[in-house]
C-alpha cells in the first residue's frame, strides 16, 4: 500500500472517526448537556493524560462547556501540533473560529491577543501531511524488508509502528487494522497481550465497545496469562480497568464496579486512557450506585487495595463512608459538589445523571428499611429537598416496586406496607389456572380446525382423482 493511496482515505474517514461525540449522538446513547462550571484547571487536568486521551478529553470538555470551550480547544490544538493529526487540527480550528465568530462582539482586546498565536497554520498542515506520508512510506518499505527476511519479531514491530503512526495521524480504523496484522507474528504471551491492549485502546476511542470487550477476553484467555505471575501482575489491573470502562459504557454499572475494584494501584499506569484517580471515581461511583450494604462493606470498605485508590480521591471516599454510615445528607452534598467536574469526564459524564439518581434512590430505600413508619418532613431535611418533591420521588420508587410502602399525604408520614403472602398466593394460583385452561381451550379448538382442514384436503383430493378419471375417460373415448 503506498502512501498516496492512503492519504485521501484518511481525509475521507476523518469526520466520522475523529469526533467520537458525533458518533455517540448518532447512536442516541448520549444526551447533550451543558455544564456550568467556574473553576476548572484545564492545564493540570490535561497534563494527567497522555496521547489520545489528552486530546479527546479536552475535546469532550469543549463540547460540553461553553465557558471552557475556547481554552480547551486551544489546549487541544497545542497538543495536536505535537502529533501528525492534521485533520483534527483543521476540525478543531474550524470549531474555535466558529465559536469566536459567535462571541466576537463581546470579546475584548485582551482575548484577541490570546487568540493571535493560534491562527490557522496552513504551512504546518502541509508539511505535516507530507511528513506523515513520507514516514508511512518508509515504514511500509521497512516492513517489506522485514517480511522478505521473515524475522517474526521485526515484522510484528513493523506492524505496530505503522499502527502507532496511524494513531498519531488520527486514523484509528487503519491503526486497528495494522495492530491486528501483528497478531500472526506474536511469539510470546507478552506480545499477544500488548497487541490486545493496543487494539483495545484504539477501540475505546472509536467507541467500539463490543470490540473492546472481545479483545479483553482474548487477552485474559492468553495461555500464559493466569500461570505466569509476572504477566498477571503487570497486566491484570489495566485489563480490569479497561473491562470496567467497557461495562460502564454499556451501562452495566455493577459489573463495571466489580472490575474497577479488582485493580491494583501499583500496576495501574495507563495514562493513555485513564488515571488512577479516574479509576477511584469510576469504581467508587458505580459501586455506590449498585452495591447493597453488605457488598459495600466487603468490597470497598474492607478492600485494602482499592483503599489506596480512594485515598487519591478523598471526596469520593468520604461520600462512600458517609453513605455507609447512613449520613445521606453529607454524602449527597459531597457528590453534588463534585458533579460539574465529573460531568466533564468523557467516560462517566453521560452516566452521571443515571448513577446519581440510582444513588439517591438507594439512599432513600436504605433510609426507610428499618422503619415501619417514617416522618417525611425529617426525611426531606435529610435528603435536602422540599416535601412535594420528596413525595414525588417516593411515589416513583413505590410505583417501581423499590419501596414497599404507602404515603399518608395529609399527615406526611410514610408507612411500610406488609404484603399478605397468602392472598398473593391465592391470586397467583387462580391466575395460573385461568391461563392454563385458556391455553388448553385454544389447543383443542386448534386441533378441531386442523381436523376439518385435513378433511377439506381429503375431499379435494377425492375430487381431483375424480377429475383425472373423467379426463382419462374422455381421452380414451
Amino acid at each position: 500500500m503506498s502512501a498516496n493511496d492512503l492519504q485521501p482515505a484518511v481525509v475521507y474517514q476523518a469526520p466520522g472517526d475523529i469526533d467520537p461525540m458525533q458518533e455517540e449522538n448518532d447512536n442516541n446513547e448520549e444526551e447533550t448537556y451543558e455544564v456550568d462550571i467556574d473553576i476548572f484547571d484545564l492545564e493540570t487536568y490535561a497534563n494527567n493524560y497522555s496521547g489520545l486521551a489528552r486530546i479527546y478529553r479536552l475535546m469532550y470538555i469543549a463540547d460540553h462547556s461553553s465557558k471552557l470551550r475556547p481554552d480547551a480547544l486551544r489546549l487541544a490544538i497545542s497538543h495536536i501540533i505535537t502529533t501528525m493529526n492534521t485533520n483534527l487540527y483543521q476540525v478543531l480550528h474550524q470549531k474555535l473560529q466558529q465559536f469566536q465568530g459567535n462571541l466576537l462582539p463581546d470579546v475584548t482586546g485582551a482575548n484577541n491577543v490570546d487568540v493571535a498565536p493560534l491562527t490557522y497554520n496552513a504551512s504546518w498542515v502541509e508539511t505535516t501531511t507530507q511528513k506523515a506520508s513520507i514516514k508511512l512510506e518508509k515504514l511500509d518499505s521497512d516492513l517489506k524488508n522485514y517480511k522478505s527476511n521473515s524475522i517474526k519479531e521485526s515484522i510484528r514491530r513493523g506492524h505496530n509502528e505503522i499502527g502507532d503512526h496511524h494513531v498519531s495521524c488520527g486514523d484509528l480504523i487503519e491503526a486497528t487494522k495494522s495492530y491486528s496484522k501483528a497478531r500472526d507474528y506474536c511469539t510470546s504471551s507478552y506480545h499477544v497481550i500488548s497487541m490486545c491492549l493496543n487494539i483495545i485502546k484504539v477501540g475505546i476511542y472509536l467507541q467500539n465497545w463490543s470490540h473492546v470487550e472481545n479483545y479483553i477476553i482474548k487477552a485474559e484467555t492468553t495461555p500464559d496469562y493466569t500461570e505466569n505471575p509476572d504477566i498477571l501482575k503487570n497486566y491484570s489491573s489495566t485489563l480490569k480497568c479497561l473491562a470496567g470502562l467497557a461495562d460502564l459504557a454499556n451501562r452495566k454499572y455493577k459489573s463495571a464496579a466489580h472490575n474497577f475494584l479488582r485493580a491494583n494501584l501499583d500496576h495501574c499506569n495507563s495514562t493513555e486512557v485513564m488515571t488512577t484517580n479516574d479509576v477511584a471515581i469510576y469504581g467508587g461511583l458505580c459501586a455506590l450506585a449498585t452495591f447493597n450494604r453488605l457488598e459495600l462493606q466487603n468490597n470497598i470498605i474492607c478492600n485494602n487495595s482499592f483503599k489506596s485508590f480512594l485515598e487519591l480521591e478523598p471526596e469520593i471516599r468520604d461520600a462512600i463512608f458517609k453513605f455507609y454510615e447512613s449520613k445521606y445528607e453529607v454524602c449527597l452534598t459531597i457528590l453534588n459538589k463534585r458533579k460539574p467536574s465529573l460531568l466533564l469526564d468523557m467516560f462517566i459524564g453521560s452516566h452521571i445523571k443515571q448513577l446519581y439518581s440510582n444513588i439517591r434512590s438507594k439512599a432513600m430505600i436504605q433510609y426507610f428499611t428499618p422503619y415501619d413508619s417514617a416522618d417525611m418532613r425529617k426525611m426531606a431535611l435529610c435528603f435536602n429537598t422540599s416535601l412535594p418533591d420528596l413525595e414525588d420521588e417516593l411515589m416513583k420508587l413505590i410505583i417501581d416496586g423499590h419501596i414497599k410502602a404507602r404515603i399518608d399525604s395529609i399527615n406526611k408520614i410514610l408507612f411500610a406496607k406488609h404484603t399478605d403472602k397468602r392472598v398473593e398466593t391465592f391470586q397467583k394460583a387462580l391466575c395460573m389456572a385461568e391461563q392454563y385452561s385458556k391455553q388448553m381451550h385454544i389447543l383443542i379448538l386448534r386441533s378441531q380446525l386442523i381436523k376439518h382442514q385435513t378433511n377439506e384436503k381429503n375431499s379435494e383430493r377425492r375430487n381431483n382423482t375424480g377429475k383425472i378419471n373423467i379426463d382419462f375417460v374422455k381421452r380414451t373415448g
Binding site: 417516593l394 411515589m395 413505590i398 410505583i399 404507602r406 404515603i407 399518608d408 399525604s409 395529609i410 408507612f415 399478605d420 397468602r422 392472598v423 391465592f426 391470586q427 387462580l430 389456572a433 385452561s437 385458556k438 391455553q439 388448553m440 381451550h441 385454544i442 389447543l443 383443542i444 379448538l445 386448534r446 386441533s447 378441531q448 380446525l449 386442523i450 381436523k451 376439518h452 382442514q453 385435513t454 378433511n455 377439506e456 381429503n458 375431499s459 377425492r462
Partner: protein, 442 residues
C-alpha cells in the same frame, strides 16, 4: 294470467321432487342437482310458492322444502302484501319447519340451513325486525346440537342477530358455553367451514366488549387470532385491532399472542394495524396528553374502522390506571393533589372518575368532601370466606367435566381409521425405539 302458467311448472316440480325422494332416499345428490337447476324457475313464481310448500311433506322432502323457503325469504318482489308482513310470515314458516323436521335431517343440511337463515336475517334486518330471528335461530341451534359444547353453523348468525337488534342478553348464555367441537356432524368428509368459527369468535368478542366483560372478550379475540388458519382474513385483522384496544383498556398491556399462533400472524398483522399499535407506548408512558395527540393523529383510521368508541375508552382507562397506581402508593391524598398527579384537567372530573372506580369496586376508598381528601383502604379481599371456596370448587368441577370431554375427544381420535392407518404405517417404518412417539397428525 300468471297463475295459469305458473301452476303446471310448479306441479311438475312437486312431482319430480316426490319421485326423487321415493326412489333414492340414501343418495340425494341428484336431488341437489335438480334443485339447483330449478332455482330460477322457483324464483320467478315467488308468490305461488306457498302452494308448493303445502304439497310437499316436511319429513319426506325436507331438502326441497328448505330450498323453497330459502327462495321465499330472499325474494325481492313481493306482490301486494307489505314487506314486514311477508318476511315475518316467511320467518314463521322457517321456524315451523325447523321445529317439525327431525334433528338428523337438519344436521345433514346444516350448510343450506345457514344460507337460508342468513338471507332470512338479512330480510328481517331490512324491515327492521332482526329481533324476530333470535328465537328461531336459538331453536335451530338447539336442534342442530348434539352436545352443548358443539359449535354450529348458526352460532355466528345468532350473534349477528343479537348485535343487529341491540339485544345482547340472549347471546351471553350461548357465548358462556365453551366450545370444544366444531360442527355437530361427525361423518368423515363433512367439512365445518372455518369462516363460521372465525365469525363466531369475532362477533362473540364484540358482544363481550359491548357488555364490558373484557377478559372474556380478550380470550375470544385471542382464539380468533391464534387458532391456525392458512389464509389471513379481514376478520382476523379486525379482531387484532379490537384485541389491542380491549387489552389496553382491561389489562393496560397487550399480551403477546399465545405461543401456538404462527409467528406469521403478528408479522402480517402489525404493519396493517400501526395506528392501533401506536397507542400502546403512549398509554404506557402514562401521559394523557401524549395519548390524546396520538388519538387525534389517527382519528380518521379509527373512524373508518368504527372503533372510535373503544379508543375513547382507552383514554378513560388511562386515567383509571393512573389513579389505581396512586391507590397503591398513598394512604390518603387531597383531591387537588391527585388531579395534578394524574394530569386530569379539572377536579370535578377527578371526582367523577373516583366515584366510578369506587362504585365498580376497583378501588376501596372514601371521599371526604369537607377537606377535599380521599382515603384509600386496603382491599378487603382475603380469600377466606366460603364464597371463595365455592368459586374454586365450581372451577374444579368445571375442569373435571372438561377433562371428560377431552378424554372423549382423545378416544374419537384414537379410533379414527385414518389415524390408525397412519400410526400403523409409522410403526412399520420405524425402528423399535421410536415407535412410541405417536403423533396426532392425521
Amino acid at each position: 294470467m300468471e297463475n295459469a302458467i305458473a301452476v303446471p311448472l310448479l306441479d311438475q316440480f312437486v312431482l319430480s321432487v316426490r319421485n326423487h325422494s321415493t326412489s333414492k332416499q340414501i343418495d340425494n345428490r341428484d336431488l341437489v342437482d335438480y334443485l339447483a337447476k330449478q332455482t330460477e324457475t322457483l324464483q320467478s313464481y315467488v308468490s305461488n310458492l306457498d302452494s308448493v310448500l303445502e304439497a310437499l311433506d316436511v319429513h319426506q322432502n325436507a331438502l326441497a322444502v328448505l330450498t323453497v323457503l330459502g327462495i321465499k325469504t330472499s325474494a325481492q318482489q313481493l306482490g301486494d302484501i307489505s314487506a314486514v308482513q311477508y318476511h315475518t310470515v316467511t320467518a314463521t314458516q322457517i321456524h315451523d319447519f325447523v321445529i317439525s323436521v327431525s334433528d338428523r335431517q337438519l344436521r345433514d343440511m346444516a350448510d343450506l340451513l345457514y344460507n337460508v337463515m342468513k338471507s332470512m336475517l338479512k330480510s328481517l334486518g331490512s324491515v327492521g325486525k332482526p329481533m324476530f330471528a333470535i328465537p328461531i335461530l336459538k331453536n335451530a341451534i338447539f336442534k342442530l346440537q348434539d352436545k352443548p359444547y358443539q359449535l354450529t353453523q348458526l352460532h355466528c348468525l345468532f350473534c349477528q342477530a343479537c348485535l343487529m337488534s341491540n339485544n345482547l342478553k340472549p347471546a351471553i348464555n350461548l357465548l358462556d358455553q365453551n366450545i370444544y367441537v366444531l360442527g355437530s356432524n361427525d361423518d368423515p368428509g363433512i367439512i365445518f367451514d372455518s369462516k363460521f368459527f372465525l365469525h363466531y369468535y369475532y362477533l362473540g368478542g364484540v358482544i363481550y366488549t359491548a357488555m364490558k366483560n373484557y377478559s372474556k372478550a380478550i380470550s375470544f379475540f385471542e382464539i380468533a387470532l391464534s387458532t391456525l388458519l392458512p389464509v389471513m382474513s379481514q376478520v382476523m385483522i379486525e379482531s387484532y385491532k379490537k384485541f389491542v384496544l380491549v387489552s389496553i383498556i382491561h389489562l393496560g398491556i397487550v399480551p403477546a399472542l399465545p405461543k401456538l399462533s404462527p409467528p406469521l400472524v403478528e408479522r402480517v398483522l402489525k404493519p396493517v394495524c400501526q395506528a392501533y399499535l401506536d397507542i400502546i407506548p403512549a398509554y404506557q408512558n402514562g401521559d394523557p396528553a401524549d395519548l390524546q395527540s396520538i388519538i387525534t393523529k389517527h382519528n380518521d383510521v379509527y373512524q373508518r374502522d368504527k372503533n372510535t368508541g373503544l379508543v375513547k375508552q382507552v383514554l378513560k382507562a388511562l386515567y383509571r390506571k393512573n389513579i389505581l397506581k396512586l391507590t397503591n402508593t398513598f394512604l390518603n391524598l387531597s383531591i387537588s393533589d391527585l388531579t395534578q398527579k394524574v394530569n386530569i384537567p379539572s377536579i370535578t372530573e377527578t371526582e367523577e372518575h373516583l366515584m366510578a372506580l369506587i362504585e365498580a369496586g376497583e378501588i376501596h376508598a372514601k371521599i371526604n368532601p369537607k377537606d377535599g381528601t380521599i382515603i384509600f383502604n386496603d382491599p378487603s379481599k382475603k380469600f377466606e370466606d366460603s364464597n371463595v371456596l365455592k368459586q374454586i370448587l365450581d372451577k374444579v368441577t368445571n375442569k373435571i367435566s372438561f377433562s371428560n370431554t377431552l378424554r372423549l375427544l382423545d378416544e374419537a381420535i384414537s379410533i379414527n381409521p385414518l389415524f390408525i392407518k397412519k400410526i400403523s404405517c409409522e410403526d412399520e417404518g420405524l425402528s423399535l425405539g421410536q415407535g412410541s412417539s405417536k403423533t396426532y397428525q392425521v
